[in-house]
């Protein structure tokens, strides 16, 4: 390496003042170093440089207080504007700090904790993969919105429970959803539920299925409906049961249609069967208790009394009744109709041989096919429990925390609602002292509207050090 000539040296120093090492702008010493050592306060331990941190309610960031540095272990570099780099070997307080004048920076603390703080935006970019491993628990608090964009798959595996709470939930999937629930699924919906399915809906239930509806149950189907069961099918209606169609077919090996009163048939209805039975005269007399209108064609086994039988006025017994005149007079023998009990005998009933009104009443009110007395939450107990109407007197329908309670109690009518506050106290969500008017505390500072005299918060300009310690009173704002 050759020595530079005098001309070259002069050239290198051109523009540099001969007193270049001096503090030309008189920045130093800083005013807070007047009348004391020029060694950085942080190096001497009279000041602890800290990052500006943000906090969140009920969230301890678990950072112990910092130990002040001891001279000469802390190497501090602080610039005129306030940027700081500290490498501190103070026993028990070893740390590395890089802090921007704004308070942003990185700190590696004595216990090994690492803090990265940004007062404004923070950007992390990884050109390839990114892996985060946390041995303990974590907490993410976003005081604004959080948007997560994943170009590929988003896989979330949780060993414990997943608890999600929030306002509205909107899910949009372009393709399918497959959900497998290992045990039970319980949903409570405080409002309404609406499902729209463009194609098919198939429910397979391998156990029982029970649907209870308090209000209207309305099913409208454009196409055919099929209800098929491999066992019994029972439908009952307490007040009225109507079936209507252009054509109704009831087919069974054993069909019973019973009623205490009513009509079966129509103008062109044919009754076909083995036996047509009317009410018998229980006294054994000749009371006419069943009436048949129209022509009879066929064979009558017995006719006790015929007042009009073409040309027969009295026919006690007729074996052929095309014209009853051929019948011979005989002894009346009342004969019960053939046993039709099996026609209306049900599993649990064994009615008499005739469907007497009492029998029908028994079927209607005592049998296994009797109309059910249906009541779904008749006193709104379930509804009130879900909506917490009984507990919270309709003031809120959600499980409230102390912050929400505080907000609700700002409304005087809520606070004076004995039911509401009573339940909150009983649930130990609200202190019994909620109604006291004097705090369990003593008075501290008191200030009026007049501006308070105070020390300055910031050092302004290159004023004398006294200015910082001087008290000042803010001007009154109009």
């Amino acid at each position: 390496m050759s020595l530079k000539t005098e001309e070259q040296v002069v050239d290198l120093n051109r523009g540099v003042k001969s007193e270049g090492m001096l503090d030309a702008s008189a920045e130093h010493p800083k005013k807070n170093y007047f009348f004391e050592s020029s060694i950085n306060k942080a190096a001497r331990g009279s000041k602890v440089n800290e990052l500006k941190l943000s906090h969140a309610l009920d969230t301890d960031i678990l950072l112990p207080d910092q130990k002040a540095s001891e001279y000469p272990y802390n190497q501090v570099q602080e610039t005129a504007s306030g940027h700081v780099i500290e490498i501190d070997d103070t026993p028990g307080g070893e740390k590395i700090l890089i802090r921007h004048k704004s308070g942003s920076g990185i700190e590696l603390r004595a216990d090994g904790s690492t803090i990265a703080s940004s007062k404004q935006n923070k950007v992390e970019i990884s050109g390839a993969d990114h892996t985060v491993i946390v041995e303990g628990s974590g907490k993410l608090i976003y005081k604004g919105d959080l948007n997560v964009h994943v170009t590929g798959d988003y896989n979330l595996t949780v060993g414990g429970n997943i608890n999600v709470s929030g306002g509205d939930l909107t899910e949009t999937y372009d393709r399918s959803i497959t959900t497998t629930v290992g045990k039970n699924e319980i949903k409570t919906i405080k409002g309404s539920k609406e499902t729209k399915i463009v194609k098919n809906n198939t429910d397979l239930v391998l156990g029982d299925k029970i649907t209870a509806v308090k209000g209207l149950y309305d099913t409208e189907v454009s196409g055919p409906i099929e209800f098929n069961t491999g066992n019994t099918f029972t439908t009952t209606a307490k007040d009225r049961y109507a079936i209507s169609s252009k054509a109704v077919g009831i087919t069974g090996m054993n069909v019973s249609v019973l009623g205490a009163a009513g009509t079966i048939g129509g103008q062109s209805v044919m009754h076909v069967g083995n036996v047509f039975s009317g009410i018998d005269d229980a006294s054994g007399g000749n009371q006419k208790v069943a009436t048949f209108y129209g022509s009879l064609v066929g064979r009558a086994k017995e006719a006790d009394l015929a007042t009009t039988a073409n040309d027969a006025k009295n026919a006690e017994k007729a074996t052929y009744a095309d014209t009853a005149g051929l019948a011979t007079v005989g002894t009346p023998v009342p004969t019960s109709p053939v046993d039709v009990s099996e026609v209306y005998t049900f599993d649990t009933e064994s009615p008499s041989t005739f469907p007497e009104p009492t029998t029908i009443a028994d079927i209607l009110f005592k049998s296994s096919v009797a109309p059910r007395h249906v009541q779904v939450d008749p006193r709104d107990l379930i509804k009130n429990k879900i909506l917490k109407i009984t507990e919270y007197a309709s003031i809120t329908d959600k499980d409230v925390n102390i912050h929400e309670i505080r907000a609700l109690l700002r409304t005087p009518s809520n606070k004076s609602n004995v039911t509401f506050v009573g339940h909150l106290v009983a649930q130990k969500k609200l202190s019994e002292r909620y109604g006291t008017t004097e705090p369990n505390a003593h008075d501290g500072r008191k200030v009026g509207l007049t501006p308070t005299s105070r020390f300055g918060y910031e050092e302004l300009g290159n004023n004398a050090i006294q200015d910082k310690s001087k008290r000042f009173t803010p001007a009154e704002r109009s």
Partner: protein, 180 residues
């Protein structure tokens, strides 16, 4: 008084107010929507007929009040958290002053209330103490009421202060600090 609004964050210039609408460089509308005592959503407020632009203009003043505290070195160790917003207008917001343990600081709450009293314009500041916590401990919120802000941002501030305990007014002329 006409407030000079940062055009970047002037709600009047927004085509739509969303939870992500910025009121300052670091404060969005969602900071208020997510208030722990009155959590809500833009959709819910829309359904309830809230004028979102009016809400955003009113919250702008609150955001500026928060920003002022955040930028003051004396409050480096605390954080101001909106805890309740009184809808639909958002004129009144209650705040918690939280320390690094995540607890509400009684003394720092008084400091902030006093700071606001001297350095910002407002309609009313209320130091709202209570013993509602289940353990009966003393708790405090700061209620800050701003005027309803028209599109012109021409507002008048009626400055008053008060202290209340469990909803009972203890002083309507002073901020009083209670020390347990």
């Amino acid at each position: 008084m006409i407030i000079l609004v940062d055009p970047l964050y002037n709600p009047n210039f927004k085509t739509a107010i969303t939870s992500g609408t910025k009121l300052t460089s670091s404060i969005t509308v969602s900071k208020f929507l997510g208030a722990v005592g009155t959590p809500t959503t833009i959709e819910e407020q829309t359904a309830q007929g809230t004028d979102l632009n009016q809400l955003a203009r009113n919250l702008y003043l609150h955001a500026e009040a928060i920003k002022m505290v955040n930028e003051t070195s004396a409050f480096n160790n605390i954080t101001l958290i909106p805890s309740e917003v009184i809808y639909p207008e958002g004129k009144i917001v209650y705040y918690h002053v939280v320390d690094k343990q995540g607890k509400v600081s009684l003394s720092a709450s008084f400091d902030v209330a006093e700071f606001w009293k001297d350095f910002i314009n407002f309609n009313k500041i209320t130091l709202s103490y209570d013993e509602y916590n289940s353990d009966g401990s003393l708790f405090v919120s700061i209620g800050l009421e701003m005027p309803s802000v028209p599109t012109s941002f021409d507002v008048t501030f009626s400055k008053s202060i008060a202290t209340e305990f469990n909803g009972n007014i203890k002083s309507s002329t002073q901020l009083i600090e209670y020390v347990p």
